[in-house]
């Protein structure tokens, strides 16, 4: 079928629209969202930068295969709700992905316009479509028939399970998501700050699944509250494990149990999940002193540093490699810099010292130089012994990575793992029949969109196994 003629002439040469931001001075003191989102005028310009390629490489590069070309065309025509409907064919989470997806590595990296100019700002356009539909949420309150197919259990409520639920319920499966914590969303709820992903957005996109008939059970730890075998006995015909990589790595240096030393997970859980930034209006406290050092260079490090800064602490990120090796989303690094967070590159902690009450007061660091490339292809940092120095500090956050959450694996020896990660075959199936896995529990720490890719693949595999149909769609 030939595409209908365009109602406008693409203009890729127009400058890529900059996402309007809250003023850096203001945002360094509030939990309000940093990025304000495009104006309708900007959307018009940005959407018309898209060439509407005959072979849209962006769609191929998006792990969810969102029909980017088509939703952008709708935006260019000011058909905002229709743009949202196009995205919904593949994803009910444009509000989340439009904000936190590492689009520079996926769709935008593949955009043809980017070969000559800056790529089309696909992520921000996706976000606009989401926010626009959100303002008209009432129209989305469709009522759905109750699913009647086989029962499927999804363990963990992170992005991997959420997208799997969306696919499975559309195929008429009775889907239940079991979550250990009291709130839904996985890292989206406990890790990523409000100022990057407002909680209403997350809640509303999850509410959409609820509206479609997905059951959510919180306060349920698979392996503790019930075993996988018990879930099978209760009639679940397939189980997907999307339990994430929640186990924080420790620095393994003297003094790391001093008061005031946190893992990023604890620091962020206190602040995001338990809302310690509202203390004492919220009951969970967090200790943020006058000077904070955050160790690490990924998304967790940026998030912890930006919270510490917002809570009034002079904040430095200590990273053992250089700026180009930082693993966080580019946008977050820039925002952190704008907000006044300092970076000490090529430096690592070697010890922490406390006062007589056991509160951390100094961090001893060592400088690094870059040596030969390691197995990740990046040049490995090598310590310079003579460079040891101490810095006064009263809060230290270790954001040096996570391993898969081991709780379920520990009591389910049939699940084969390697270095804590659950092993799966090419269909996403684990060593246990009818038990699938994906996301961070399989990959170690990864990204929202790759977790969703896995969740989608597992949903397909579950559908194939339970329906007997080899391929649907």
């Amino acid at each position: 079928m030939a595409a209908p003629p365009l109602k406008y002439k693409p203009n890729p040469k127009a400058p890529r629209q900059a996402l309007p931001l809250l003023d850096a001075q203001v945002r360094a003191r509030t939990a309000e969202e940093v990025a304000l989102g495009f104006t309708p005028e900007q959307v018009s310009v940005e959407a018309q930068r898209c060439l509407q390629c005959a072979k849209p490489t962006c769609v191929e590069a998006c792990p969810l295969h969102i029909d980017i070309k088509r939703f952008i065309a709708r935006l260019a025509e000011n058909e905002f709700q229709a743009a949202h409907d196009v995205i919904s064919e593949q994803s009910p989470f444009p509000g989340v992905c439009g904000r936190v997806c590492q689009h520079e590595l996926f769709c935008e990296d593949a955009c043809i316009v980017g070969r000559k100019w800056d790529p089309v700002a696909i992520g921000s356009l996706e976000r606009f479509a989401a926010d626009h539909a959100r303002l008209r949420m009432q129209e989305l309150a469709t009522s759905y028939p109750k699913p009647t197919g086989p029962k499927v259990a999804l363990v963990g409520s992170g992005p991997a399970s959420l997208i799997a639920a969306y696919d499975l319920i559309r195929w008429n499966y009775q889907v239940t998501i079991f979550e250990a914590l009291h709130k839904l969303g996985g890292v989206l709820a406990y890790g990523i700050p409000n100022f990057r992903l407002p909680r209403e957005i997350l809640r509303e996109e999850i509410a959409r699944l609820q509206n479609m008939g997905v059951e959510f059970v919180v306060d349920f730890i698979a392996g503790k509250t019930a075993s996988l075998a018990e879930l099978m006995e209760e009639g679940y015909q397939a189980i997907f494990i999307g339990t994430g990589a929640g186990l924080p790595h420790m620095m393994g240096i003297p003094g790391e149990n001093l008061v005031g030393v946190y893992t990023a997970n604890e620091f962020l859980t206190r602040i995001n999940l338990m809302e310690a930034f509202k203390f004492p209006d919220a009951p969970t406290p967090v200790r943020v002193g006058k000077r904070t050092i955050v160790v690490g260079g990924g998304n967790s490090a940026m998030d912890a540093a930006r919270w510490a800064n917002r809570m009034g602490s002079e904040t430095t990120i200590l990273y053992r490699r250089g700026r180009v090796e930082l693993k966080a989303r580019l946008e977050e690094i820039e925002h952190a810099e704008e907000e006044g967070i300092k970076f000490e590159f090529l430096a690592a902690p070697v010890a922490l010292y406390g006062d007589e009450n056991g509160y951390v007061k100094e961090i001893e660091c060592i400088r690094m130089e870059l040596g030969e490339p390691d197995e990740s292809g990046r040049r490995a940092p090598v310590p310079i012994e003579s460079s040891r120095h101490r810095i006064a500090v009263d809060t230290v956050v270790a954001a040096i990575g996570q391993a898969p959450n081991p709780t379920l694996q520990k009591v389910t020896p049939q699940l084969i793992t390697r270095r804590g990660r659950i092993l799966i075959d090419e269909h996403g199936e684990t060593s246990m029949a009818h038990v699938y896995a994906g996301g961070d529990v399989v990959r170690g720490g990864s990204t929202v969109i790759l977790a969703m890719k896995d969740g989608r693949a597992a949903a397909q595999a579950i559908h194939n196994a339970l329906s007997g149909t080899p391929e649907v769609q």
Binding site: H182, I221, K224, L247, V259, N405
Partner: protein
């Protein structure tokens, strides 16, 4: 949401709550705990599972109201819904059989000791329980303990009942290096530390059930870390029970004090949102 079925005051500021929790009731073992959020606005706190009732599909917890969240918990009346309750968490208590076992507890720890003492007894050990209270009217679960163990002794700080002194002094008055082969201790940190010191060098394997500050209780945050024999452990998943002779109790003391002033502030604070209404 879990329904409160019954509530009973056991001693001043110590309250028993029985709460519906069918799945936990079926699976829990002595030594395990739960995490609750009494109200939608509460923090998460850990509590030991003290007992369960299959017919009523319930579990029992005993709470000492010492701060904001424990006060919120004991303010729940029968038929009220507890906002969140998750478990069973942690590893069950270590059990052996055919041994002379001493079980020691102080304060609200006496309630936490009950299921462990019972389990030791049922596993075929001879169990002596040494329990401490501030004074006679602070003793809790006396009848239940008496029924569960072979021998029960009380120590009170003011001498109003039983031995005059603390549990460790009571232990020293009753026992020596070879009296017991195994033991379990639960209660305030100074008491657990003293029990560990008193029995160092005895032929006694002593398990201590630790109470560090916890948040998620699933091994995700590392806030509950404790040092045991120079190794860092996450008490919510590796414990809460550890070899008492290897625990760094001083570090645990410091870490448990980390939020003292803020906890006091939280207790005295009236939420601004709430004030507007009245």
């Amino acid at each position: 949401m879990n329904r409160v079925l019954a509530k009973r005051e056991l001693a001043p500021l110590v309250t028993l709550l029985e709460v519906e929790a069918p799945r936990i009731q079926r699976r829990w073992k002595a030594g395990q705990f739960i995490i609750i959020r009494p109200l939608e606005t509460s923090e998460r706190i850990p509590l030991t599972i003290v007992d369960s009732n299959a017919e009523r599909q319930s579990i029992t917890m005993v709470i000492q109201a010492i701060g904001k969240t424990t006060k919120e918990a004991v303010s729940l009346e029968p038929e009220a819904l507890m906002c969140d309750l998750v478990g069973p968490l942690g590893e069950p208590a270590t059990m052996s059989k055919g041994k002379n076992v001493v079980c020691m507890a102080g304060g609200v720890g006496v309630a936490e000791l009950l299921p462990v003492a019972k389990a030791f007894h049922q596993a075929g050990n001879r169990v002596t329980a040494l329990c401490g209270a501030r004074s006679e009217n602070y003793r809790i679960l006396d009848a239940e303990l008496k029924e569960a163990v072979d021998e029960l002794h009380w120590a009170t700080d003011d001498g109003s009942f039983g031995f005059h002194g603390n549990v460790v002094q009571l232990l020293n008055s009753l026992a020596g290096p070879d009296t017991f082969q195994e033991g379990h201790v639960i209660g305030p940190i100074p008491m657990m530390k003293a029990a560990a010191e008193a029995t160092r060098g005895w032929g006694l394997k002593l398990h201590a059930s630790l109470n560090p500050v916890m948040i998620d209780g699933t091994g995700m945050c590392g806030g509950c870390r404790v040092t045991v024999g120079h190794e860092v452990k996450f008490a919510c998943v590796d414990g809460p029970e550890f070899d008492a002779h290897l625990v760094d109790f001083d570090e645990l003391t410091r870490r448990n004090r980390a939020y003292r002033e803020m906890e006091q502030e939280s207790l005295n604070h009236k939420c601004r949102v709430g004030l507007d209404i009245h």
